[in-house]
Symmetry: C2
Subunit: 405 residues, 2 copies
Amino acid sequence: MAKQIVVQKFGGTSVGSPEKIKAVANRTANLLSNDKSVVIVVSAMGNTTNQLVELTKEITQNPNPREYDALVSTGENISASLLAMSFQEIGIDAISLTGAQAGIQTQDLHAKAKILTIKTDRIKKELDSNKVVVITGFQGINPNADITTIGRGGSDTSAVALAAALDCSECEIFTDVDGVYTTDPRKVKDAKKLNEVSYEEMLEMASLGATVLHPRAVECAKENKITLHVRSSFELIEGTRVKEVNQLEVSKPVTGVAINENEAIISMIRVPNKPGIAGDIFKELADNGINVDMIIQNVLEDKKSNNISFSIHEDDLEQTLNITKSISEKLNCSVLHDTSIAKISCVGIGMISKPGTAAKMFSALGRESINILRITTSEIKISCAIEQKDAHKAIEILHKEFDLA
Amino acid sequence: MAKQIVVQKFGGTSVGSPEKIKAVANRTANLLSNDKSVVIVVSAMGNTTNQLVELTKEITQNPNPREYDALVSTGENISASLLAMSFQEIGIDAISLTGAQAGIQTQDLHAKAKILTIKTDRIKKELDSNKVVVITGFQGINPNADITTIGRGGSDTSAVALAAALDCSECEIFTDVDGVYTTDPRKVKDAKKLNEVSYEEMLEMASLGATVLHPRAVECAKENKITLHVRSSFELIEGTRVKEVNQLEVSKPVTGVAINENEAIISMIRVPNKPGIAGDIFKELADNGINVDMIIQNVLEDKKSNNISFSIHEDDLEQTLNITKSISEKLNCSVLHDTSIAKISCVGIGMISKPGTAAKMFSALGRESINILRITTSEIKISCAIEQKDAHKAIEILHKEFDLA
C-alpha cells in the first residue's frame, strides 16, 4: 500500500539557528511512523535573506532580477541542506532538493514567478527509498533552467503546491504562532485562537495583514481543496485548520478582526477625465505585480479631471511612485502619498446572512471618535482606513463589539 | 570571425567584499575589447565557505557528503551573482551560471569529484549575445543532477577545465600575490618573481606548498597545453606564465625553493612483513582521496616486520589516523604521528642535466646544523623533511645557495 504523504512547511524563525534546525528534525522524527512519508518545505534561516539583500545593495540599487533570484535562493539551499544533515545525524535517512531538483517549474519571470507545474518523479523516488525529503521553499526553475523565486509568501505557496502535486489532503504550516486568532494576540489580550476558519475568511484576513499565511498560499489551498493546518513549531499542540467550512455552522457575523499598518495611500490629483486612463494606470501597476486595494475615484467640480487614489503595501511604495510619477508627467497631474494610515478589517462568512455588520462597525468606531478615512467592502469583509495612531484602540473596540473574546 | 575567449579566475580574497567584487568588474571592464569574450570563474567570498562549514559543525561532526556539497556550493553562487550584478551596474551585460548551468559534469562522487566533461552550449550562447559569463568555481553536477564539489584547489581547476573546453590557449589566474616566486616572499626578503616557469616545476612547487596554484590545476593545464598566467588582482602588472619551457633556456639547476609546514608524518610500527600489506594500506588511503608523499619502509632486524612511514597533508590527518588505526588493529601493530615537521624542497628542470644538486642542498643544510629527517627525490625536485623550527632558516640558506635572489 502506498504510504500517506505529509507535507510540512517550516518558516524562517523555525529554522533560525542550527539549534532550531535540530529541533525541527527531532520534532518530525518523533512523529514518523511506518505508514507516512514526510516532505518538508523550508524557508531561509532567520535573517539570511536580508543579509543577502544587504550585500546586493552594496553593489547596486537596482539588481538584475535574474541575478537577484540566483542570489537570494541560496538562503533556502543552506537551510535545506542543514536540515537534511540534522535528520541524518539522528539516524533518519533524508535528502535535500532544490526547487530545480524537486521539479518545481515556474513562469519565465523573476522575483514573482508563479508555479506552473511540479514534476514529482525525483521526490517520489526519494520518498520510495524511505527518505525524508527536504525541499527549498520560495524557488523554482524556468524553462531556461534559470532559478526563479516566487515572491512574498513564497515558501507557504511552495508547500501547498507540493501538497497538491503529491495528492495530499492536508498541509501543515509550522510557524512561530500556534494558530490563527480572532485578532493579533500581540495587540489584543483577549484574542482567541480559532479551531477552524474558512478559506474565504483566511484569504481576507491574510490579505489584510494577518501575517501567519500568505493569501497566495490560501488561494492555492482552496483551489486544490487542501486543508492548511497552521500550528506552532515549538509547542506540540493543535493549531487552526483552514478548510471548507459548512455555512450551517456559522453563528457570528464576524470571525476575526485584522489590522495592517504597512499600507500606503497614493493619490493622483487632477488626472484628465478621459476614458481609459484609469485602466492604463492600473494595468501598468498589475504588470509590475503590484497589488492595489481600496481604489477611490471622484470627478472634480470642473468635470474635466479626477482624483484617483488607492492603497498598496508599503514595500511596493518606491516602485509604485516611479510608475505613477512617470504617468503623471505625461498627463500633467501630480502624485501624493501617505504612509501614516492603518487598515482595519472585520472578516466573516456570517456577515453574508446578517445585515447591519457594516453599520455596527462604523458606529463602534464613531463612538470612540475614530475617524474613518476610506471604506471598502467585499461579501465577507469590511475594511476601513484610519489614522495609524488610532489603530490599537480600534481593534480592541471591534474585537469586543463583535464578541470575539 | 569568432571572438577570442579569455578565461579569468578570481580567488576568494579577490572577491572578499562587495567593494572588491566591484573592483574586479571594473578591472575586467577596462580590458574589454570588441575582439574578446570573457568568462570569469569565481571562488566564494573570503570567509564564506568557512562560515558554512561552521554551521555544519553545529549540526554534525560527520556531514553527509551530498548535503555538504549542496551547502558549501552556495558560497560560489553568491559571489557569482554579485559579480554579474556589478558588471550590469557599470553597463556591461553579464550573467552568472552555476556549475550545473555551465554544463560542468563531474564524477558521481562528492567533496572531491573530478570534472569529466563540460557541455559548453549555454556558455557559448551567452557569449554570443555579448555577455560576460561569470561561472561558479569549485562545483559541478553529477549524472543524478546532484551538486558536486571538486575538492581543494577546485576553482583553479574549474577555470583551466573551462579554458580547455572553450579552446583557449591561456587562462588568467588572479590572486593576492603578483606571481610565482623563487620562494615564499613572505618568508624570504630576496625572493624573486619568475617571468615563466615550466608545468613540471610548477607542479612540484604547488605540491610542495606554494599555495598560488593547486597541482590539479597545473596538471590539467599541462595536459591541455594551456598557459596559466598567475597575476595580481589588485595591480595591473604582468605575473608569471606557467607553460612549456624550452630546455635550451634552462641555465640554473634550481628554479625555486618551496616549503610546506602543513605536513604530518604517520609511522606504522612493526607491520608484519608479508606481501601485499603495504599495497592494501596505500590503496585504502588512495580510495579516500588522501595524497601520500615521502614513503619510507624498512625491514626490522627480526626480518618478520617492517616500519612503514609516510607524510600527508595535515588536513587529512584525522581521516588517515582513522584508516591506519583500523588497519593496525587487525595487524596487531601500532601507529604514531608527528606534526612538528616541515618539508623543504628544491625544484628545477635544470637539475636533470646538472648532477650534484642534491649533494649541494644537503651540504648547505648540514653547514647550518639543520638535521634532515627524511629525503625523497624526483627527476626535478629534492625534498627534505626537517624540524619545523628550522624551516625559515633553511629556505633562506637554500635560496642563497642556489643563487635565486
